[in-house]
């Protein structure tokens, strides 16, 4: 029984090694990186980070990414809330088919949609805006949010609704004043997942932007291919993308496990 900690420890060690490799490289100079392997940075430098925080093409990438991720999270969760309520409480014509159809959009490979999305958003003149990426990410985030919220809502007894209606609450008043606070944890988890999938997605975000709304991930790939072999800079940019995620995880750490199970273990 006491040897149980070995496996998780080894596993976490395995998870941390590549991250360490990235971090240590971000503190090295280009010459040192190309000169050969060293476990610790020999000539410790913050040059790579300074470059990112002073060059607008770099730090704007982070701002752009955060803007569309926040818009997307907000849209996805607010439209998913009433829908999830409908799925968890009522039977209606075609409900099961609709639910499965929603999930199929979570299954559509973004590569299939890249080109049509480009044409669609160009034709309505939203190309290269934050809102375009935010709307495009709704394709897979709304179904996910509905799925998660439905799970959480099914865990709330229906007596709560019935009592509220008997007390004379209208639907929307009940929904906003009583129901939403009750499933606050579920909303947190759904927001976490929307944030996560929107933050990590690159293909659609890159296809739908060129200059104004270019996400950090795209800045990285384009830099990698144009300016040659600036591994230190790339590593520093990569290390910085881990921070928002780590920040979000820390806040929802007690709910992650439950959210991954979509609330209905």
């Amino acid at each position: 029984m006491n040897r149980k900690w070995i496996l998780p420890t080894l596993y976490i060690l395995f998870l941390m090694l590549p991250i360490y490799g990235l971090l240590s490289m971000s503190f090295k100079t280009t010459n040192e990186i190309l000169g050969g392997f060293s476990f610790f940075p020999q000539q410790f430098t913050l040059e790579n980070y300074t470059k990112i925080f002073t060059d607008p093409t770099w730090y704007n990438g982070y701002i752009n990414s955060l803007i569309y991720v926040v818009i997307n999270t907000f849209i996805s969760v607010s439209v998913a809330l009433p829908a999830a309520y409908a799925f968890s409480r009522y039977r209606f014509l075609g409900d099961k088919h609709l639910f499965f159809w929603l999930l199929t959009n979570r299954m559509a490979p973004p590569a299939v949609f890249a080109l049509p999305f480009f044409q669609l958003y160009s034709s309505i003149e939203l190309f290269d805006t934050h809102i375009a990426v935010a709307l495009a990410h709704c394709l897979f985030n709304i179904p996910l949010a509905v799925w998660i919220l439905e799970g959480f809502m099914s865990g709330i007894p229906k007596e709560l609704d019935e009592t509220a209606y008997l007390d004379g609450y209208s639907f929307w008043r009940f929904f906003i004043r009583i129901f939403i606070p009750t499933i606050a944890a579920g909303i947190g988890v759904a927001m976490f997942f929307c944030f996560m999938y929107s933050w990590v997605e690159l293909l659609l975000a890159q296809t739908l932007t060129s200059v104004e709304a270019k996400p950090i991930a795209a800045t990285m790939t384009r830099t990698a291919s144009t300016s040659g072999y600036e591994l230190g800079l790339l590593a520093a940019a990569g290390s910085l993308t881990i921070i928002p995620g780590a920040f979000v995880i820390y806040f929802v750490r007690n709910y992650i496990a439950k959210g991954f199970a979509l609330g209905r273990v």
Binding site: F92, L102, M107, F113, C138, W199
Partner: protein, 287 residues
């Protein structure tokens, strides 16, 4: 839960329906449109019928990337699921270490996919990366940019690194929902460790495991960014999975017809597998 029939509930679903339909129907119809036509530019289109579908289904290139895709998905699921269960089983249930474990394990899930690719690229570089350098100095001949086997291993290990935590977190959630009384009863009955796993823990994890396998299947089947950044589909075509191949045809060569036909076939395969999973899952739930 008992549900009441209420057709007015449709109104609550309308916003979701509109937004998703806008994003799903129009692009999907565009793809269907391209898949049955030939174009020579200038927006001139000619009806082609099912020619593209036949061509794609017969082409060796499609068979190869589909085969690679199936092999890859099979490999990562058969590694990630047992490993994930094992880690979840040995994780602490209470105490300060739970949060530490959860936060550290969830970290790879929140790293942008291209950064995952870039990170592993750096990590595995033969002469200057931590992994590549270590393997080579231990006497292995390892170079993922030139050897197909190394490239495959690196891609698979990268995916295991990236996504096993998802399985761990799901299984852990399943395990946490088992009341202590079950274990006490098993203890009184003198059940072996294996019996506890087989008859208490596994049944409780069945639902979350289905979700885990479903999610892993869907996501690994549409994997694009990570292997693209890591190996670029190479060396040669050895790690060109379906999505990479599709983007090469659609955006690289601008062969819209074949690319569209391939997209639809690809989407149908994913849909079919997921439908089977979903039906099985729902049936289990109703029992």
């Amino acid at each position: 839960m008992r549900k009441t029939t209420n057709q007015k509930a449709w109104w609550l679903v309308v916003p979701v329906l509109l937004l998703v339909a806008f994003n799903a129907f129009i692009p999907l119809m565009t793809v269907v449109n391209y898949s049955v036509q030939e174009t020579f530019g200038n927006n001139a289109f000619f009806w082609e019928g099912v020619t593209w579908f036949e061509k794609v289904l017969r082409s060796e290139r499609f068979h190869d990337s589909l085969l690679r895709q199936l092999l890859f998905t099979g490999m990562i699921i058969s590694i990630e699921v047992p490993l994930g269960i094992a880690v979840a089983l040995s994780m602490p249930r209470k105490g300060p270490w739970v949060s530490v474990c959860l936060v550290l394990m969830a970290l790879p899930l929140l790293i942008p996919w291209n950064v995952v690719g870039a990170m592993w690229n750096i990590f595995a570089l033969p002469d200057i990366g931590l992994l590549g350098y270590t393997l080579n100095s231990m006497g292995f001949d390892y170079n993922f940019t030139q050897q197909p086997v190394s490239a495959w291993m690196t891609t698979v290990v990268m995916d295991v690194w990236h996504w096993t935590s998802l399985v761990v977190l799901l299984c852990y959630a399943g395990l946490c929902s088992i009341p202590d009384a079950y274990y006490q009863a098993a203890h009184i009955d003198g059940a072996s460790r294996w019996a506890v796993f087989r008859y208490i823990q596994l049944p409780k994890m069945k639902r979350v495991l289905t979700i885990a396998i479903l999610l892993r299947f869907m996501d690994s089947f549409m994997i694009y960014t990570e292997p693209f950044v890591l190996t670029g589909g190479g060396p040669g075509n050895t790690t060109t999975f379906l999505s990479i191949d599709l983007v090469k045809i659609a955006l690289g060569q601008f062969d819209l017809g074949p690319a569209a036909a391939m997209s639809l076939i690809y989407f149908l395969i994913v849909l079919l597998v997921c439908w089977v999973f979903y039906t099985v899952m729902m049936r289990n739930e109703e029992q």
